[in-house]
């Protein structure tokens, strides 16, 4: 029965000792330890959050880079296309121009040739007329130097000039 009868002395000392132990450990052990642990956990949480944020930022940057690269590539593509178009257009324009100019030149040349030809013909006609006149004059002069021949000429002429 002694075994299960709490003795007053031990209850008394246990209560006092436990309260002192609780008080001192609370003040000098549990508070600093739990404080240190929780501040460390806090700092770990912060560090993790910061790392996460950095990672996200990195991802954003990478996405940005990707986008910029894409844009640059598209721009280059566009520029190249434009250049090619322009080249083609220029070539086409040049061709057109050249053709027009050539046509014009040909037309002018033809015109010039025509007018030269006309002038040449006119001149030739004039020269032929004057030459004919000279010839005619000379012939007439010669023919008309003797009487017989004048008559013969008129006769020949008349003979040739059939009236029709």
């Amino acid at each position: 029965m002694d075994l299960v009868t709490p003795g007053f002395g031990l209850v008394f000392w246990t209560a006092i000792t436990f309260l002192i132990l609780l008080f001192i450990l609370k003040k000098f052990a549990w508070k600093p330890i739990l404080g240190a642990v929780s501040s460390r956990e806090e700092s770990i949480k912060d560090a993790l959050a910061a790392a996460e944020a950095a990672r996200r930022e990195m991802e954003n940057l990478q996405a940005d880079n990707e986008r910029i690269l894409q844009e640059a590539r598209a721009e280059r593509e566009a520029m190249l296309k434009e250049a090619r178009d322009m080249k083609n257009k220029m070539i086409a324009d040049a061709k057109e121009d050249a053709k027009l100019t050539a046509d014009k030149m040909i037309a002018q040349a033809q015109e010039a040739i025509q007018s030269e030809k006309k002038a040449a013909i006119a001149e030739l006609k004039g020269q032929v007329a004057s030459l004919s006149l000279e010839i005619a004059e000379k012939v007439v002069k010669q023919e008309l130097s003797n009487k017989g021949q004048q008559e013969k000429l008129v006769e020949d002429m008349l003979g040739k000039a059939t009236l029709n």
Binding site: G9, V11, A15, F28, I33, A36, S39, R40
Partner: protein, 370 residues
Amino acid sequence: MKLSAVRTLFLGIFLVMSFASVAQDEDSMIEETLLEEKTEDKKFDPKEMIMHHVKDAYGFHIIDIGENKYSIPLPVILWTDNGLTTFLSSEFHHDYDGKVVVEKNGGKFVNYHEKVYQLDAGAETLQLGEDGYPVNAAKPLDISVTKNVFMMWVSVLVLFLIFIGAARKYKKSENFIPKGIASFVEPLVLFIRDDIAIPMIGEKKYKRFMPYLLTIFFFIWLNNIFGLIPIVNGANLSGNIAFTMTLAVFTFIITTFSGNKSYWKHIFWMPGVPVPMKIFLMPIEIVGMFTKPISLMIRLFANITAGHIIILALMSLVFIFQTVAIAPVSVAFSLFIILIEIVVTAIQAYIFTILSALYFGMATEEHEHH
């Protein structure tokens, strides 16, 4: 830090032992020869031996070498009709059969089965009744520093060394990285917090109870372990019902004072059941308030004491059979039980703590839906 703490502990034990040998009295020889004669014709009584070892004692008995008994004398502090009376336990000369009468402060005191009795006026020797209890003596109010109280203080010193040392480590280290003893203490502290306090009490309110839970866990655990150290003769503090009762009463007080409205409502007027049931449940719940700490008290006491009794009983086999041949069996079995007991030290501390936390959790729980 861990090493130096262990060194300090050993140094302390050696100091205490040298003190003990000094304290051995010369004039106790006469008394001891008397005792020897008496014990020789007495047969070995395992029950008495076990009970003697399981119970508290006034002196800190270390070892017997031949005829000499070595023990650390501890103060006996009594409150008698003549006021405070103190003397050292060595004045009983290792007697606990009520044979040695110590006269102090006008009173005569004897140690009968490790309880101090004050002889009634006029009585010279202790008379025992039929039931084996003294008839001509009364127990004075006794607040002696007994073996258990002494070991409790040693455990308190060790706890201070370990935990205040650990707390210092944190202060010194940068980024609160645990070093030295702190790295040994931290997992245990975190275990109490993450596996006992937070699940039982809840994230919001656990902080208030943390110092208490940590303190009882380590206090009980360390004293359980101290109870297993053979050299200190099993100062069976955590297997003493006074100790477990005191701690259980603390848990009860904290539970009762932190009980919120819904806790009391669940005791006196259980919500969600018909009125006759409410009336029926009320006395059960009121009894439940008290059975919880009582179960704490008995569980720790019974587990630790039972372990000690088993080990001592196995050791007694040698003396019961009066042969050394049984010794290997005794040693093997008690070694096995001691190994189990080492596990039990932690388990019982854990159970006491987790149940305390559970009761605090029940007292502070917020019931939102019913």
